[in-house]
Symmetry: C2
Subunit: 476 residues, 2 copies
């Protein structure tokens, strides 16, 4: 019989808090009949965000093209959806039930390249795009392809989306955390980058690249152009590749803020030596099509033979799922002005984004009304990384702790807090230590995806819970 | 700038011949206007196999449930499809655009467990089933989870489907090839297993498991119950886990042959100590839905804490794509007798399988009419592993070669042969060395998926090509 101890120790060590013990406990409670508000994961359609009509109509016709021959049913569909599907089937007659090329269907990769050009005003090539099963698989491919040996590591933000820490652990490679500056709306600090890079070298780690998540998960931060330029210079100076996780590029809410892609900034800087791996996804933005697992990886500043190895890696598990590829197609080639679906597409898209913007504000306002909690209104993404304070525990001298001990202590405290919150209120959020946080600070991540009435209820419950929790600690 | 030499050497070393250089050359030729007969990959719908109506109608409704409200719908869709979709949306109201649980939607896993019970007459548990993006991802999860260190290896058949060799290489783990017995319709030989296991130990390799592909890829073999019992005893005797790649379980053609699952045989033997990881997929069988990337992994004889680690591994990339999960649902819970779609579903299914059976015979008959080529009619799967002979090359003394040299020599010869075949005839098959073969033998793998007229054309062209190729070698 096999036992847990027989498994790959890197798998045992990997942690993915977004679906960890607190979420498992939430499912148990739900099965027992308790109402749970799931704020643990960016899963918009599970929280009633409607899918976009154009995309779903297109997919329904691709699944069952015989609908095209049925005039009565087709009365539900606008002409450009039907036209789009006919063009797809013409260019790709095998339909969505066949494996595609390893890197994805050629005309979709071409459309993705045109999308990048339209977005950034820079050249892009379909040959440098690989369609993936969501962005996660793209990120894992880059880590697997670039990291050689046990000493190799990637710089990852603290806090970060735990896909990166978990995948590095899984492949037996090293995490080099660099702190984001919470006081500067979660921007990267050059000093902090330099310090963590130097510390890694001193510990015998070989840093090969840096992950930047922009807009930020779990932070909701949006990076300025200048901050991105700094990262590019830093990467160049230290010979690092860049993974730009840009899956929230459409989720920017604050007036005056805009998403700046690493590709655009690098192009403007004339930077052609820093390898760039950019990720995009249909799961986030305004599509919210998580279940379809669609995304793409764009490679820049890599030669053809490196690209070929990435395509080979993709080929080993054949290709990304084809309905997901088709969802990417809509993301990168939405209805255009003049087409019949254009205005309703834009309307549905704007409604989703407006709703998210307003819910970010409602959440932040509510959080800031709670004593001992603080949150700048998230500028982007779908998350708030809420900072909270707890009174000291009697008999525990935090000043005497090493950074490592302090981290472990914080981890116990934020986990206990989030678990108690779940048990008492049904609110499911993820402890800050699941993403990483500065020793001595406590956070939790919540999405602002639930319907606004639920967010209001949630904030009210959170306030009552937090005050009670603090009172009990003080009285203990 | 990054160069190929900077990449993970395990990625550089990995080979996946099914989509390798010959296939890339085929695409080039196709772009230049040459007609290519793609026999390199088991991709039924790319070769005009029709998808099953029930499945595609169900998926079209799940993509766009508003169709359900259209009165004209029932003139095109049978009532049980509509009823099925209503039940799904009732049990899973978030629809197919949301992430599911990491291990897959619960009612689909339950249906998969019932499917196994119905198929094999044995108990099965939904908790031991993980829905995956095709079987490939399931296989990779098992290898990643079980293999610790560089000395660890898995026994894999020779010839094998190169997913296994490529993934082991990618993870930096060892391949322990065991030869299948071509003279015994590709069954496993206990002596051969024992020899390769002993050789591995002698070389300092730690064999942790064995992969068995049944029905066989690339061989088309179907294993007898007795042969499977032997493998189970062997695994038990040597403390091995078993990966049973059973994605072709519905593709058994020869009268008197039937598919026997490892799960059923182990259950009948009362074997509860050998960990079993069984794979199934919607890509093969009669569905042929490769593009949907759906499949499942069933774990047996593993304790709960091991299972939990597999679920965690799945959670890191969230979940399998949900349309693919829904395709698995149809595979494991097809229309039942009495339901309106039952007879047409069975008819379509039987038509696909009948066609495959007949094409296997046409191919084998044609191949055997070529001097220097031989092939037993494939009993299962979608492939023929055709053995062919070439006259010796002048000035080359094969008798003086080591096994390693002989393998390299054979690899050059079968690759040159397949490339010449492609260039001269447009027939795209994969060289035997891409799967592994006994030194001193030459093979190629071809599918028997093309329409029968194309198979007939292909065999005729192959005959002319082969005779000419041999003549030129003799005259050289």
């Amino acid at each position: 019989m096999i036992s847990r101890d027989d498994l790959n120790p890197h798998l045992l060590a990997a942690e993915y808090a977004v679906r960890g013990p607190i979420v498992r406990r939430a499912r148990q409670l739900e099965e027992e009949g308790k109402k749970i508000i799931y704020c643990n994961i960016g899963n918009p359609q599970a929280l009633k965000q409607p899918p976009l009509t154009f995309l779903r109509q297109m997919l329904s016709l691709l699944e069952y093209p015989q609908l095209l021959n049925h005039p009565a049913l087709l009365s539900l569909y606008k002409r450009d959806v039907v036209g789009r599907v006919r063009t797809i089937l013409d260019r790709h007659p095998e339909g969505i039930g066949a494996y595609s090329e390893s890197s994805g269907i050629a005309f979709i990769r071409e459309a993705a390249a045109e999308f990048i050009t339209r977005r950034d005003g820079i050249p892009a090539s379909a040959d440098h795009i690989i369609l993936t099963d969501g962005a996660s698989k793209g990120a894992q491919s880059v880590l697997l392809a670039l990291l050689h040996s046990e000493e190799d590591g990637f710089m990852i933000p603290v806090p970060q989306y735990p896909l990166y820490s978990a995948s590095l652990e899984l492949y037996g490679r090293r995490q080099i955390g660099y702190p984001l500056d919470e006081s500067n709306r979660w921007h990267l600090s050059e000093t902090a980058l330099a310090e963590s890079h130097a510390r890694a070298l001193a510990e015998g780690t070989r840093p090969l690249g840096i992950v930047v998540i922009n807009p930020g998960n779990p932070t909701g931060g949006v990076l300025s152009e200048e901050n991105i330029r700094m990262v590019v210079r830093f990467a160049k100076g230290h010979g690092l590749s860049v993974i730009a996780d840009e899956v929230y590029q459409d989720n920017v809410y604050e007036a005056g803020q805009r998403f700046s892609s690493f590709a655009r900034i690098m192009h403007a800087m004339g930077e052609t030596g820093v390898p760039l791996f950019s990720l995009n996804s249909v799961s986030k933005g305004y599509l919210g099509e998580c279940g379809h697992r669609g995304g793409y990886l764009e490679l820049r500043n890599v030669p053809g033979d490196v690209l070929a190895e990435f395509v080979k890696l993709q080929s080993i598990s054949l290709c990304a799922n084809v309905p997901g590829q088709m969802a990417v197609y809509v993301m990168v080639a939405p209805p255009r002005p003049g087409e019949e679906s254009y205005s309703s597409y834009v309307e549905e898209k704007e409604a989703v984004l407006r709703e998210l913007r307003e819910k970010a504000e409602i959440l932040a306002k509510g959080i800031n009304s709670i004593e001992g909690m603080s949150l700048a209104i998230p500028r982007g993404a779908m998350y708030a990384f809420v900072r909270f304070e707890l009174p000291p525990e009697r008999g525990i001298d935090v000043a005497a702790m090493s950074a490592e001990e302090r981290r472990a202590y914080d981890r116990r405290r934020d986990s206990e807090y989030c678990l108690a919150l779940l048990e008492q209120t049904g609110i499911c959020v993820v402890q800050g230590s699941g993403f990483g946080q500065e020793p001595g600070t406590l956070h939790f991540r919540t999405t602002f995806l639930p319907p606004r009435a639920e967010i209001e209820t949630m904030v009210a419950k959170l306030k009552v819970f937090h005050e009670q929790y603090v009172r009990e600690l003080v009285e203990a």
